[in-house]
């Protein structure tokens, strides 16, 4: 029996700040690899992970690669399910407008840009997590 065509639901859970550890960048690399294998990929940003999507990151001063612009390419890799934990934003005094806008293009509707971002509660995120085949935490 061929294994071709098997699509699993993968969720990547991002819980750490960018730059202080390598987790955020490593997660992004693995996400892009998985997407290349035509899998059903979703991303969750919770706890300090919400800082990964902050606008206006400027890394010249710390001498590290600014990978924040790569998130905008997720839509081109058909990754259009991005879940942001609202409680995590609230605890940090942040709102959705502090984060990058991420979109994907719907080819069935003349490539109309649609938002990939879903603001969810922890209860909703828990439910979505439980529906996954594979969950990877970074």
């Amino acid at each position: 029996m061929s294994e071709e065509g098997i699509v699993k639901k993968f969720m990547y859970v991002n819980r750490k700040c960018p730059y202080g550890t390598i987790y955020a960048l490593e997660s992004l690399e693995v996400v892009l690899i998985t997407a290349a294998f035509d899998q059903d990929v979703s991303l969750a940003f919770t706890d300090d992970g919400v800082y990964q999507l902050m606008k206006d990151q400027k890394t010249d001063g710390i001498g590290m690669k600014n990978f924040s612009s790569t998130y905008a390419a997720l839509g081109d890799y058909e990754i259009k399910k991005i879940f942001i934990d609202k409680e995590s934003l609230d605890e940090r005094g942040l709102s959705i407008s502090d984060l990058q806008e991420l979109v994907w293009e719907d080819e069935d509707e003349d490539y109309a840009e649609k938002s990939s971002i879903n603001l969810v509660s922890r209860a909703e995120l828990s439910k979505i997590m439980s529906q996954q085949d594979v969950v990877m935490s970074f």
């Binding site: 550890t21 800082y51 206006d56 400027k58 010249d60 001063g61 940090r92």
Partner: protein, 102 residues
């Protein structure tokens, strides 16, 4: 004896920031670097703890680490001093010793 305390972990991740503040002597200074710079932002759930500790210590945050994380300097708690790497070096020489909270 004056001591410079440096903290590099997010206050949401572990208790380094809270422990440092609770054990810091009055003539000491605290410098937040790397992920710990989140601590000095207004409106996080830790803002009150930082604001009240400003009465007892001088608190600093490293500007390049704030900028890397997209944290606006305008949203830093008033009274916290924002410094560059050169300022970090000055602080280490001005204090008798340095304690790094990991």
């Amino acid at each position: 004896m004056s001591m410079l305390h440096t903290v590099n972990k997010s206050p949401f991740e572990n208790s380094s920031v809270a422990s440092c503040i609770s054990m810091c002597a009055k003539s000491s200074s605290i410098l937040f670097i790397e992920d710990a710079v989140i601590s000095v932002m207004k409106s996080t759930k830790f803002a009150e703890m930082i604001e009240s500790s400003l009465k007892d210590f001088k608190i600093y945050a490293l500007k390049p680490d704030l900028e890397a994380r997209g944290l606006s300097l305008n949203n830093v708690i008033e009274g916290v001093e924002i410094i560059e790497y050169e300022g970090f070096v000055d602080l280490t020489t001005e204090h008798d010793s340095v304690q790094s909270w990991l």
